[in-house]
Symmetry: C2
Subunit: 160 residues, 2 copies
Amino acid sequence: MNIVEQIDKINMQLTVKGYKLTPQREITLKVLLENERDHLSAEEVYMLVKQEFPEIGLATVYRTLELLAELQIVQKMNFGDGVARFDLRMEGHDHMHHHLICKVCGALEEIQDDWLLDLEQRVATEYGFQVTDHRLDFTGVYHTCKNNSKQCKRTGKAVS
Amino acid sequence: MNIVEQIDKINMQLTVKGYKLTPQREITLKVLLENERDHLSAEEVYMLVKQEFPEIGLATVYRTLELLAELQIVQKMNFGDGVARFDLRMEGHDHMHHHLICKVCGALEEIQDDWLLDLEQRVATEYGFQVTDHRLDFTGVYHTCKNNSKQCKRTGKAVS
DNA sequence: TTTCGTGCAAAGGTTTTGCACCGCA
DNA sequence: TGCGGTGCAAAACCTTTGCACGAAA
């Protein structure tokens, strides 16, 4: 599914709920889809949207992101750096992505396996708790970073 | 290990790093240890410390919590309610606690099983990533909350 | 016209910082 | 004296909100 199709699909979700796909919302969505792997902050989204739509205000970006979170199109997350970051939840990614956070190079990789179905079953039986969503983050170090190579394997970023 | 012993142990960790256990820090630690299960925010810690040490300033609490996080005695966490919360990491709890967050009653339960050793092994082999810590939160609903009982099973809190 | 969405500026809430002061080596 | 630690207030920071305006049904 390409970006245009995804935006169409989201447009339908908006319409059903009585919301409109304004140019501001469309460009914000485009930015999110084009940077799906990057976990952008509101400020970063704002900067990118501004390149195509300079008149947009930061408040609109916040309102759009809030709207998308309400529709479960994005998920608001916090990785401890003081800003909220937004994770797309398209195409069955629903509650199935985990994160690897490298302490050396700062990379934040998303991995797609769903490893937790057994655990969710155990939580249900042992704790009387029905899971609807989960969050799993691993902090650690890429072997390539640890081995003192000059670049992070994933991002290509220079490593301090 | 009782609270006095735990504070002694932490005092040693502080001393090794050149920090002192001031009365403010000691009372802050006591509050954290006495409310280990509660994931207090800085403001909540401040209120509780103030009861025993009214002259303390909020900034000191923030600085103490930051210091304890640096020493890995507490972990700063964010559950999406706009404030940082602090999780004690004493007595081998290290990277072994997970959370159940009930959407109905708001309870935040800590569970102690360490279910992720296998997954950490997989991450190491499949992604070339050595895990040093992890975070696993389950969002969902307690069966007792779902069944419309008037109280949450865990907290006893009234359920809307 | 009515409603929804927007931009701007102001407000709100949390956390950090600057600075003078204090106690202890 | 020197230095780490503190309290207070101000600042910084991210995010939300109030309000008037504008576009579309």
